[in-house]
């Protein structure tokens, strides 16, 4: 039943995506009213799903891959709604909606909403670890979006091909600044999540620790390179996209491995 909220949320993000495609095809972009409403509605439906599921299972709803992906999509929307207006990043919604739509579509299409083992007990540290890590992923996702926007804008300026729609993209320094702050936000949250993982009191799979630390190192290196001026903004943008892709792949591997071992 609660799955319907995810379907409705996905439809909202799909509407935002369609609207953006339509505007691009019509070669016009009149901001942002429709997309903002669609994304806020999608966020409300996601929140409703997570609340209902959380009440039903009596814990934070990140107990299977389906819930993890919805929680990740919710985190991305949360960070977007929190920082989008603050930084006046026009068009960020147009870039974020497809990402959230893709994550939720995958969640809905795959048979990954497995039944919850009844004997699970609630470990507050484990819940904190998992949820804060997911929100960190949301910040990394938005850093990836800002990175993509930076690369599009940079490419436009280099090639002198200024597309009418993307002429609304923010200036390069604003995008770089937003990207850096999102990387810091994600890194801070992820560090807290990683540290709290060691306080759960439960045995942690060796592979999981290695992969989690690898993600932390990747983002750490990006931030060091950015502040040591060892990487140009363009490279930082490209690394943000690469790092998020790697992080999502690793997250998927971690959860997939965990679910398989649970069902064995």
């Amino acid at each position: 039943m609660d799955r319907w909220f995810v379907i409705l949320a996905t439809l909202c993000y799909f509407a935002a995506l369609l609207r953006t495609i339509w505007l691009i095809r019509a070669d016009t972009y009149r901001q942002l009213g429709f997309n903002a409403v669609a994304m806020a509605s999608g966020f409300a439906f996601q929140t409703a799903f997570l609340t209902m599921r959380g009440h039903a299972i009596g814990r934070c709803p990140i107990t299977n891959l389906f819930e993890v992906l919805v929680f990740l999509a919710w985190s991305i929307a949360l960070i977007y709604l929190a920082i989008g207006p603050t930084y006046r990043l026009s068009l960020m919604g147009a870039f974020t909606a497809p990402l959230v739509f893709a994550v939720q579509s995958v969640a809905l299409m795959l048979p990954i909403d497995s039944a919850h083992p009844p004997q699970l007990t609630v470990n507050r540290w484990l819940e904190f670890h998992a949820s804060i890590s997911m929100i960190a992923y949301g910040a990394f996702a938005l850093a990836c979006v800002a990175g993509a926007m930076y690369l599009v804008q940079e490419r436009q300026l280099k090639t002198h091909q200024l597309h009418k729609v993307f002429s609304n993209l923010p200036p390069l320094p604003n995008l770089f600044s937003a990207m850096t702050r999102l990387l810091w936000l994600g890194f801070g949250l992820y560090t807290a999540g990683l540290a709290s993982g060691f306080l759960t009191g439960e045995p942690l799979p060796h592979l999981k620790i290695v992969l989690a630390v690898a993600i932390w190192v990747i983002y750490g290196v990006i931030l060091v390179a950015r502040y040591a001026r060892a990487a140009t903004p363009k490279r930082v943008a490209a690394f943000s996209i690469f790092a998020f892709t790697a992080a999502v792949t690793l997250l998927w591997s971690i959860e997939f491995t965990a679910q398989r071992s649970l069902h064995r």
Binding site: T28, L157, K158, H160, L162, P171, L172, T232, P233, K234
Partner: protein, 359 residues
Amino acid sequence: MNLFCVGLNHRTANVETRELFAGHAESAHELKERGVCSEVLLLATCNRVEIYGAASDEIATDSIVRSLRGNVAADEAIDGDIFYRHDGLACTEHLFRVAAGLDSMVVGETEILGQTKQAYERARQMGSAGPILHRVFQRAFRVAKQVRSRTDITRGSVSVGSVAVDLAEKIFGDLRGRKVLLVGAGDMSEKTARALHSRGCTELRVTNRSADRATELAAQFGGRAVSFEQWTTECRDIDILISSTSADDPFLTQEILSPLVAHRINQPLFIIDIAVPRDVAPDVNELDGVYLYDIDSLQAIAEQSLALRRQAVAQGEAIVAEHVAAFRDELARFISRGFSEGNCREKPAIAASLRVSES
């Protein structure tokens, strides 16, 4: 009562002729003082001089033109064909188009709306604008606002200078405190520098083969002149370079610039090459963080914006047509109500001025 507009603009008269008629607000006001018109307003900008008026009798175009010519020397031969005239709803339609920037030399320019508002305010203060002009002009301001907000008519930059400024803002965000170097002191580079200066690029350096000219131009912007032999070293810390020399071959190449910008990790360099033949080799654009635009690329972007504006004209015209029709219907209802209540003397006058019948 007749509402009319008589005037001349950039399409019908050259700038010398338009200059002769600009700025005669008093002569327009005299039309009211002499009882020729009950209401009158002069709209005079660099591209048009127009009189909007309402009068109980039909006034010949010649007498309006004579009042406009009041201060023009008698020996100046003026061709009568340079004046146009619009009456009734055609006059309102013309005004709506003017206020919306659809009739401007640079389509979609926004200055005209402010000038129209000022002209209306001046006429109101002088007591020469009454209820008829009030209604028509207030409606024109609404139309202009809608055309601007609902179409792309004002979008993009349409001159080389403003395109350069827009690009600089895309590259740097805030332009305040950005360092600009002018290589060569041509007219176009001066205009571009002026546009950048007005947006906050206050630190300006000028280099030129003629040191005197460089010093003179630098002084205009509160900047400093740089020796022509040593200007390349300035590329280490400037943000924007505007080049417009008469050199036969590109003198700024990738080989020269590459070592100078190698240390600039998060400091882009925007190069505006206005010279023909070009001063900067095209492969300079391949350097990381360097954005090179020559005159053709800047003009192409300006043309692109202008083309978009032209596309938006049809949408703007449709909005104007909607408003003209709505205005006519609104007045018809207004008159009908006025007649049935029999309590308004001015309504029939407004109706007649626009030739709106009760049916």
